[in-house]
């Protein structure tokens, strides 16, 4: 089954939308079947037959009673659909924020996602972890959506409907996941050349796993082993203009935070698996994995590439 099926909701609001969509689908399906049947009947029954006498059929100009009927009935259907819709709109948009809610800021960048947990001292990119919500003690995540450049849209179909990230504007949404798992999605508003590879990965963890993840992510970079050559190259080139590694001089904000790069399963907003080979290729020539990406090729020699890759591989 598709991991991005809108009819497989795994959160509270996605479930509400799913229930509403089933209602709308069934009403429209009934209308479709009835009118379709009438049309087929008319086409079959009133086609000109072989051996027709060629005389004109009775000329009928209209009927006010019939017109009234097929005005009033659709009005009633529309009112019903509207009321059902308005209820869900209000429930989703005006939902109260429970005490256990988690606060998150999501920032869209040309072709990647920045995530900040303001209360928890965590900044990360592209792979978002959220705790599963316990119905008895709900812990939904309330997200503030911002954009650093163009319009984007946050859409993880199984978790919530989409909401746009628009520069110079603050949007809000919330997610209340009910089942643990990995949920996929992607940017749903055309944002430039690599709109297609601005993928979303949301891991819904148990509360314990989530707390552990937060604890790890809030630590500064721990570098072990003999990688000082790579670190030195990294810190003396323009890498640090765009990337942050907490606890070092690298504090750029234009690109993803790399402090815990190796805790992520993918590179380049989901464009490729996070393997040493892909990481090296990405530093060497980003266009090879994601043509049009905003990261420039760094023009490093083979040995420098190996050293920088080795350094980044230690950022766990």
């Amino acid at each position: 089954m598709s991991p991005t099926n809108i009819f497989a909701p795994a959160s509270t609001s996605a479930k509400w939308i799913f229930d509403l969509s089933l209602f709308v689908l069934s009403v429209t399906a009934v209308i479709f079947v009835v009118v379709f049947a009438l049309l087929v009947y008319a086409v079959v029954k009133f086609r000109r037959r072989w051996g027709d006498d060629g005389r004109e059929p009775p000329q009928v100009y209209g009927s006010n009673q019939v017109e009234l009927a097929w005005t009033v009935i659709p009005v009633l259907i529309v009112v019903t659909l509207f009321l059902a819709t308005a209820r869900v709109v209000t429930a989703v948009q005006n939902a109260a924020r429970p005490a256990g809610a988690i606060e998150l800021i999501a920032i869209g960048h040309q072709y990647w996602w920045e995530y900040r947990f303001p209360g928890l001292n965590v900044v990360t990119a592209n792979e978002l972890h959220l705790p599963v919500s316990d119905p008895a003690r709900p812990s939904p995540t309330f997200i503030t959506l911002l954009s650093a450049d163009t319009d984007h849209s946050f859409w993880v179909p199984r978790l919530a409907g989409k909401t746009d990230l628009i520069p110079n504007r603050v949007n809000k949404m919330w997610i209340d996941p009910t089942e643990p798992g990995l949920y996929l999605g992607q940017c749903a508003q055309y944002c430039g050349t690599q709109h297609a590879k601005m993928l979303l990965r949301v891991y819904v963890d148990s509360r314990e796993a989530f707390d552990r993840w937060i604890k790890e992510q809030s630590q500064p970079a721990r570098t072990g082993g003999n990688v000082s050559v790579g670190q030195k190259i990294f810190e003396s080139t323009s890498c640090i203009n765009c990337h942050t590694v907490q606890g070092t001089v690298a504090n750029g904000r234009f690109g993803p935070d790399l402090t815990h790069l190796m805790s992520r399963e993918t590179l380049a907003a989901g464009a490729a698996p996070n393997t040493p080979e892909n990481l090296r290729l990405w530093i060497q020539n980003p266009d090879a994995l994601k043509p049009g990406s905003r990261m420039p090729p760094m023009g490093l020699g083979d040995r420098e590439l190996d050293a920088v890759t080795a350094y980044l591989l230690t950022l766990r």
Binding site: I17, L39, F46, G62, E67, W70, P74, V92, P167, K172
Partner: protein, 557 residues
């Protein structure tokens, strides 16, 4: 060399040389010739936009396909959308309106013939200008660079920060220029319908085609003006230091969305009303009955026009409007289903009790009824805001609006082509080829656009040049692409049929369909002056009255 020494090669009167003919067409102010030029122009861009769509579909046949680069893909979907709306559909509906309105109301030309020619040439220039961007946008020193901002060109992608070079300028100016052409034609249609009707043709006796085009003209003025204003604002942003849409300097991206969709949604009805107009002429003639509920059809049309001006932000359910705003646009959007439903029921009732001949025009109109029913119902789903939070900007939306634009508008336009081709050319088209075109295009349409809904339900967003495997989209996209080839084949049969019939077809006579409106009372093709004597009418079906003096319509109206 003196001109005496080399006389201009004059052949005998009647057979003019090519430059003379060309000169006649270029300088013409005749509504029929301008109508035909609009139609031919729209057909050329139908082919161009169709080729672009085919390239897009080949790229999306398989996940991670590498047929075109992301840059080229983005340019092509921008050009495909812009072309199909502004340079295919608009010219085609204007072409039919231009050609038919004076003939149907018993006039000898449009109210402002020279404005008519001016408007056509503005539109023509706009399209050529847009396509010149392939050469000119990046200067001749670089690679060609067509606009890549999408056909609704959301800010701030159009700002000079994100769109350096001139590609966005070509897009803006092309739409600005053709927009002025559209407004000119709309004014002309309104003036013609108000002032040029023949004696006896009150507003309540106009053919429905004229009524719907009249309402379309009003909508064009109301819809295209804000678009033109927005284009001017965008130019000011890009070149004169304005900040309307410049989010880096306090401008608003959402304002552009409002400007665009306050044009964009009525635009759907600008295109679909003339399609309805054709169906409202063709269905009665081929069912051999008058249109059912004429006054209600007119009222429903006017209602659609009014409501369509208040629904635009249903394109913006995901931009973060508050719940009251969203609820308003839910109710206005769903309200439009009522008059639209009334229209479908009236067409159905027109067929009911008739004797339906399924010639090619009626085949296309019948398919249109089924498809428009379906498109309307998916529209209701999208109008239900929370459902739209899932469906919006997905392939479901792409499928929905292609169902409207191809399944309703293009199908009706094809019906109109076959129905009025004998009038315009004087030749009958080939019925077998017409049916073959219908079958191929019908199969292709349903393969492509029925199936296209499903990837949207499975989370596939629009405007992505490639996609990940393993999301359940692969097979569906392959089927969609196969359907595109069937449609392409159908179009080739259509073009061949038009050309072949024009040169080798049989003479059609003035009234091949035994129809009832005034255009069938004059010769095929009509002479430059349309009618030797301005007709006078007493009912909505003047030719019915002539053919059935024992039972004329005017007794009942």
């Amino acid at each position: 060399m003196s001109t005496d020494a080399m006389p201009w090669p004059r052949s005998q009167p009647g057979a003019r040389s090519f430059p003379e003919k060309l000169h006649e067409w270029v300088t013409t102010v005749d509504h029929k010739r301008l109508g035909i030029m609009y139609i031919v122009y729209g057909l050329v861009f139908l082919l161009v936009g169709g080729i672009e769509a085919t390239i897009l579909r080949i790229q999306l046949m398989y996940p991670q396909n590498d047929f075109v680069s992301p840059q080229v893909f983005n340019r092509l979907f921008t050009m495909h959308g812009t072309t199909m709306i502004f340079f295919m559909a608009m010219p085609l509906v204007f072409g039919f309106a231009n050609y038919l309105i004076p003939l149907m109301i018993g006039a000898r030309d449009m109210a402002f013939p020279r404005l008519n020619a001016f408007s056509f040439w503005l539109t023509a220039f706009g399209g050529i200008f847009l396509y010149f961007s392939f050469l000119g946008a990046n200067g001749l020193y670089g690679a060609g660079n067509a606009p890549d901002v999408g056909w609704f060109a959301y800010a701030p992608l159009t700002s000079r920060t994100f769109s350096p070079g001139h590609s966005t300028d070509y897009w803006t100016l092309a739409l600005l220029v053709s927009g002025f052409g559209s407004i000119g034609t709309a004014i002309n249609i309104l003036a013609t319908v108000v002032c040029m009707r023949c004696p006896g043709m009150t507003l309540a006796k106009m053919p429905l085609f004229v009524w719907l085009c009249f309402v379309m003209g009003g909508l064009v003025i109301l819809a295209v003006s804000p678009l033109s204003a927005a284009q001017i604002m965008l130019l000011i942003d890009r070149y004169l230091g304005g900040h309307f849409f410049d989010t880096q300097a306090g401008g608003s991206a959402v304002v552009w969305m409002h400007f665009f969709w306050v044009f964009g949604h009525p635009e759907v009805y600008v295109l679909v009303l003339p399609a309805f107009a054709s169906a409202s002429e063709i269905i009665p003639v081929f069912s051999r009955k008058p249109i059912f509920g004429y006054p209600i059809m007119v009222a429903a049309t006017v209602a659609i026009a009014f409501i369509s001006l208040s629904v635009w932000a249903h394109h913006m359910f995901t931009v973060g409007m508050n719940s009251n705003g969203n609820i308003f646009f839910v109710v206005s959007t769903m309200a439009i289903a009522v008059p639209t439903g009334i229209k479908i029921f009236n067409w159905l009732a027109t067929m009911w009790g008739g004797k339906i001949d399924f010639e090619t025009p009626m085949l296309f109109c019948t398919a249109f009824l089924f498809q428009f029913l379906f498109a309307g119902l998916t529209g209701i789903m999208l109008g239900s805001a929370p459902f739209d939070w899932q469906l919006g900007n997905s392939y479901f939306v792409v499928a929905h609006f292609h169902y409207v634009i191809v399944g309703a508008i293009v199908f009706c336009l094809f019906a109109a082509f076959y129905y009025w081709f004998p009038k315009m050319s004087g030749m009958m088209y080939n019925e077998a080829l017409g049916k073959l075109h219908f079958v191929l295009f019908f199969i292709g349409f349903h393969l492509t656009f029925d199936v296209m809904h499903i990837p949207g339900l499975l989370g596939m967003p629009r405007r992505i040049y490639t996609y990940e495997p393993g999301r359940g989209w692969d097979t569906l996209n392959l089927i969609v692409t196969i359907g595109a080839f069937f449609q392409g084949l159908g179009i080739l049969v259509f073009v061949f049929n038009l050309l072949w019939s024009y040169f080798f077809g049989e003479a059609a006579g003035s009234d091949p369909w035994d129809a009832w409106t005034l255009e069938w009372s004059t010769a095929s093709p009509p002479p430059a002056y349309n009618f030797a004597v301005i007709p006078a009418v007493r009912s909505r079906r003047p030719l019915w009255d002539l053919k059935h003096p024992e039972d004329p319509d005017w007794r009942y109206e």
